[in-house]
């Protein structure tokens, strides 16, 4: 019963659905599990819902983010930035503004990303010490996110249509989904697996396999917090198994639905980032 209700709420033909319903959905989902209801079997539903839960909480969001990049020798580098996000449409395009606060030598460097589904993102960069605004055309989204082990795609989400999804197992706690790229040439992995939590729909773990089937990269959700009713990953760790390095990403001061205006995502904001949203 409940399962049907949820699937109905989720418009299968349209990625968009009202995120304000998300907390409601979560409650229903929790209830459905409590009631020992049937598992979901439609893989498309599972991955879409996981995508929404992971990347589209609220209409907008803001956070302080710290990245600790550790190489195989244990050498650490820290990066800290303030981030603000606004969804253009739910499950679809999104805009991001990122302003660095640490280390001092990259302070006030600003990134702006316009995430597009089905085509290349637009990225802008402002480098204060060179006083330079640059638009960056990137060939793909699987490039390092500011030197960390995360890719842009890990931070902003991978287009669901780019992979074939297959539900390979359902355990007590998780849905295990295997994903294979529709265009294998365009990515460095051969497949990846998601361990999607049945309650939160946040992947607990993601593992990437290379062309010989070897695991070479993994993402773990280390800590989850309920913020304003949204399950939020506040600490995640990505490990580069090949090189032995990893990056830890931590979120602080997360706020959703703060009313971020759409008009701050302009080239002007690169040189003059809105203090209200990105701090001084």
């Amino acid at each position: 019963m409940i399962k049907l209700q949820i699937e109905r709420m989720f418009d299968m033909n349209n990625l968009m659905f009202h995120s304000k319903q998300l907390p409601v959905l979560m409650v229903l989902l929790g209830f459905s599990l409590f009631a020992n209801a049937e598992d979901f079997t439609d893989v498309n539903f599972i991955v879409r819902f996981a995508n929404l839960a992971s990347y589209y909480a609220g209409d907008d969001g803001q956070a302080k983010v710290r990245m600790t990049i550790v190489d195989k020798n244990g050498k650490k580098q820290r990066r800290q930035f303030n981030m603000v996000r606004k969804d253009v449409n739910e499950g679809g395009d999104q805009n991001f503004l990122i302003k660095f606060t640490k280390p001092a030598d990259v302070r006030d460097t600003v990134f702006m990303v316009a995430k597009h589904i089905g085509k290349d993102d637009d990225r802008w960069l402002y480098l204060p010490s060179i006083d330079l605004v640059k638009r960056i055309a990137a060939g793909d989204k699987r490039t390092s996110f500011i030197g960390s082990h995360f890719f842009y795609e890990d931070v902003s989400g991978r287009g669901l249509d780019e992979d074939e999804h297959k539900l390979i197992d359902t355990t007590d706690k998780e849905y295990i989904v295997e994903n294979t790229p529709k265009q294998p040439e365009s990515v460095e992995f051969a497949s990846y697996k998601l361990w999607i939590d049945k309650v939160t729909f946040i992947p607990n773990k993601i593992e990437y396999y290379n062309k010989v089937g070897k695991l070479y990269r993994s993402v773990e959700t280390v800590k989850l917090e309920n913020i304003q009713g949204f399950q939020t990953v506040v600490r995640s760790k990505i490990s580069d198994i090949q090189t032995g390095g990893y990056t830890l990403m931590e979120f602080k001061g997360v706020k959703y639905n703060a009313g971020v205006p759409a008009d701050i995502f302009t080239e002007r904001s690169l040189r003059n980032p809105p203090r209200k949203w990105l701090g001084k």
Binding site: K102, L127, A138, G147
Partner: protein
């Protein structure tokens, strides 16, 4: 003791055979555990300073030893045509999947990033070649793109576009032969067009391939040496029975020595792989003496045991001395600081002593076990074999009499040769290069040549700069922070927290402390309230200012330092290319500023550098950065690509940097280090040269003392050292004059010469003293001396020299060198002995002969045995001549 051993062997031959068999079997069983080691790095001990540093550098910059695969197309469009690039792409993607390949670091046109301008204010980062080009035009665009990036030009793609490379870093360089073999298989699978030529090289491949070929050499050359010695001995003695015992003994000696070496866990290095071929001829010699004397003395009906005891009582001491001197010569290699050479020297020495022990146990046991019939055959065969020495029998006396007629001329001639040789020695070029261990036509040599023609160089060295002034800077920071804390009092008192923080961080490096402090203080600011927050913020600001200075290689003036060193390196004329953080920063900065060549420069502030780097880090390969600079910016490496792996060239490069630094000293606190295999080779070679001088001096003195002891005379002791000294001088003089590089095998030869060629002098002098004591007539002495004794010396020289010749057929150059020089050394030292000793004796006749007769009166046991030994030789000869 001696008597005990021999008579025991004679009484219980079965026991001797069983023991030898059992021990041999046990040691044979060890051999399959063999571990081959061809790593030139192991020429230095693991604790050696430069090696430790080299490995630290590799770790610090995540550097791996690499195989280089070259794709060359000499056609009009070079490799930049759709077919070749498609091949390259397939090859690369399959190489990435090979086990032990560091996949993220594989460098190929299809795995690197491109930065291009795309209209006003737009810069594009993308794969250089994600999909194979569809047409020629697109292929040529890729060429332009690669050549536009200084870090890749002439490293990844040759300037003429005819060649491109794939750099294949390995997790473990000992896997390189397997990886190279897999790559060859992939290439065969991909069926390249005839125009696309593929080459595989790189030092790890050379080393590993060497290891594999070493087995070939051991399984071919050593048995071949055995065969040659067998044939040669058959020629001299004409009895299979007689020579089979020494042959068995030689095999047992070789197998046991190698068995012990492997069983004890030593790796078989290029040096130790030569042990069999060294032991084989040496092991044979003494037993031949015994057998030939036995066959002379034995007459039908004699008790073989008694004859053996007689023979042994004569031969024991001279055999002991010749074995000891040879062993000392080899054991002196233990003075070198090169572990594989040490192992080689000690085990050959041990093998020689083992051979001696077997000579006094196994050979007697062998003889008494022979049937009467066989013993008779043996005696007859030995007698009939003399005919084969006719040539020598005619030639040698002529030499003897010729020399004593013109002794001064001979001495002057030898002196002149020595003078010229010493001049030659001064011109010796110390040089080695593992790639040159292969013959000219070997595929590795060809690949090496082709790839170095097209690219900047396949030999790597690293010049590293370290900033070590951080502790001082950090202390200044702490002082300033303390003041901030004090000044805030009493309104705000964070002194306790601050004190704890300092305490908890102490003991770590300045940089780590600063990094952690920044993070912790940052958290404190996050958590604390207004007034404290402000104080912490002040400390944080101060920490960040300090951090900027500590991030030394992010400062423009430090990057300039790298730039200057790079141009110095290029000016040496021996460096194909250098790559450093400076090149990376300048390239990215140029592209950020619009791509014009004029913007190829270092940004003007540390922050501008940081932001330039941050832009680069949003690429597919952000980690490439850490091969050039450490994440803390405290250490930067210049990758030097050399076209030649010759140590002389590397040495010259080091010297050019040293010269530059004399006039342009590094800033205070900055230290320079070298690393890379090409550099390591220079180091171990230097150690080897010094080590060899020590080892040569050491063994010279020991052998000299032994000679003085043996002859109970300082004069004769010195005389005995003359032939080998002349030989060593001559050999190295020739090496210097003909321009042959003084490399590892050549270096080892000196001690070997010493140990082996002193034997000739021992025999010669002892015999001379003895004959002269009897004849008291110089002419008669010479006549007798140049009959059998000279013949014995020549015969031994020939056996050893020819025994080494199978090395000339070896597939690897060091073996050929050793084979050639050892054969020459044996020949030369026997000739020198036969020429120079009589000449000197004639000139100083009065003094020396006086001593001789004096010495004769108080001849000790050892000397008398030597005399007997020689006498018996003489008897034998006359017997034979009678037949």
């Amino acid at each position: 003791m001696r008597k005990g051993i021999i008579s025991f062997s004679l009484r219980y031959p079965e026991f001797v055979f069983a023991a030898v068999f059992a021990i041999t079997l046990f040691l044979v069983w060890q051999i399959p555990k063999i571990k081959v080691d061809t790593d030139p790095e192991n020429m230095l001990s693991e604790q050696q300073e430069d090696r430790v540093l080299h490995n630290q550098i590799k770790k610090r910059f995540n550097l791996s030893d690499s195989i280089v695969v070259g794709l060359v197309n000499e056609g009009k469009d070079g490799v930049f045509n759709p077919d070749s690039l498609s091949l390259l792409r397939h090859l690369t993607s399959r190489i990435i999947s090979i086990k032990s390949v560091v996949a993220p670091d594989v460098m190929s046109v299809s795995t690197v990033d491109n930065i291009t301008q795309e209209g006003e204010g737009v810069i594009r980062f993308q794969w250089m070649m994600q999909t194979p080009p569809t047409g020629l035009e697109q292929a040529q665009q890729i060429k332009q793109a690669v050549l536009n990036l200084p870090l890749l030009k002439n490293t990844l793609v040759s300037e003429d576009g005819k060649a491109t490379a794939i750099y294949v870093p390995l997790t473990d360089k000992h896997e390189s032969h397997r990886v190279a073999t897999e790559i060859k298989q992939i290439i065969a699978d991909l069926k390249p067009a005839p125009d696309d030529k593929l080459y595989i090289t790189g030092l790890p491949v050379a080393e590993d391939t060497f290891g594999v070929e070493m087995f070939t050499q051991m399984s071919i050359s050593a048995p071949l040496a055995g065969l040659v010695i067998f044939i040669l001995m058959w020629f001299f003695f004409r009895s299979v029975t007689l020579i089979s015992a020494p042959m068995i003994m030689a095999v047992v000696t070789v197998v046991c020595t190698m068995g012990v070496l492997i069983g004890l866990g030593y790796t078989v290095h290029i040096m130790s792989s030569m042990i069999p071929i060294f032991l084989m001829p040496i092991a044979v010699l003494d037993s031949v003496h015994i057998l030939s004397e036995f066959s002379d003395r034995y007459r039908d009906g004699d008790d073989p045991s008694q004859v053996v005891e007689e023979v042994m009582s004569h031969l024991f001491t001279p055999m002991l001395y010749t074995s000891l001197t040879s062993a000392v010569g080899f054991a002196s290699l233990a003075f070198t600081p090169i572990p594989p050479v040490k192992v080689f020297g000690i085990f050959v020495a041990g093998g020689i002593l083992l051979a001696f022990f077997l000579t006094i146990t196994f050979i007697p046991a062998f003889i008494v076990s022979l049937s009467q019939r066989r013993l008779k055959v043996l005696a007859d065969a030995a007698a009939s074999a003399e005919g084969s020495n006719v040539g020598l029998a005619k030639l040698l006396p002529r030499i003897g009499f010729g020399v004593i007629n013109i002794p001064k001329t001979i001495v002057l001639l030898v002196a002149a040769i020595c003078v010229i040789s010493i001049f030659g020695i001064t011109r010796i070029q110390i040089n080695d290069n593992p790639v040159r261990w292969f013959k000219q036509q070997h595929e590795i040599r060809i690949a090496d040549k082709v790839l170095n023609k097209h690219f900047a160089g396949t030999y790597n060295a690293f010049l590293v700069l370290n900033n070590e002034s951080n502790d001082e800077v950090y202390d200044d920071f702490l002082l300033a922070a303390d003041q901030i804390v004090e000044k805030a009092k009493p309104a705000v008192d964070i002194s306790q927290d601050w004190g704890n923080l300092k305490h908890n961080l102490s003991g770590k490096s300045a940089l780590e402390q600063l990094e952690e402090m920044t993070a912790i203080v940052d958290d404190l600011i996050f958590e604390s309230e207004e007034p404290e927050e402000k104080v912490w913020q002040q400390i944080l600001d101060r920490a960040e200012d300090t951090y900027k200075v500590v991030k030394y290689f992010q400062l423009p003036e430090s990057i300039k330092l790298l730039e200057d060193l790079q141009s110095t390196l290029m000016q040496s004329g021996l460096v194909g290319k250098t790559n450093s953080f400076a090149d990376l920063v300048k390239t990215v900065y140029r592209e950020l500023k619009g791509g014009k060549p004029m913007n190829y420069q270092i940004p003007d502030s540390s922050a501008a550098v940081a932001q330039t780097v941050l832009s680069f880090q949003s690429s597919h390969r952000p980690n490439d950065l850490w091969h050039m600079v450490t994440p803390d910016y405290g250490s930067a490496a210049i990758w030097i690509q050399l076209k030649s792996g010759d140590n002389v060239d590397m040495d010259a490069v080091i010297k050019s940097v040293d010269d530059y630094l004399k006039n342009n000293p590094l800033p205070k606190g900055v230290k320079l280090e070298w690393g890379g295999l090409t550099y390591i080779n220079v180091i171990w070679q230097g150690e080897m040269v010094n080590g060899m001088v020590m080892s040569l001096l050491g063994s010279f003195i020991i052998v000299l003392l032994m000679m003085m002891m043996l002859f109970r005379s300082i004069k004769f002791g010195l005389l005995a050292m003359i032939p080998l000294s002349v030989t060593i001088t001559f050999i190295y003089g020739v090496i210097g004059l003909v321009g042959k590089n003084y490399d590892m095998p050549v270096a080892v030869l000196s001690s070997l010469t010493l140990g082996l060629s002193v034997d000739f002098a021992i025999h010669y002098i002892q015999r001379m003293r003895d004959i002269n004591a009897n004849t008291n007539d110089w002419n008669e002495t010479i006549g007798k001396l140049y009959a059998e004794p000279a013949r014995a010396i020549s015969r031994n020289a020939i056996v050893i020299a020819v025994g080494f010749t199978p090395l000339l057929l070896a597939p690897l150059v060091p073996y050929i060198t050793v084979g050639f020089f050892l054969a020459s050394i044996m020949a030369i030292s026997s000739v020198v002995t036969l020429f120079i000793l009589p000449a000197i004796v004639v000139i100083f006749r009065n003094k020396i002969l006086a001593t001789m007769s004096l010495a004769e009166t108080d001849v000790d046991e050892a000397a008398s045995q030597l005399v007997d030994f020689q006498e018996s030789d003489n008897d034998k000869t006359s017997d034979r001549e009678d037949v």
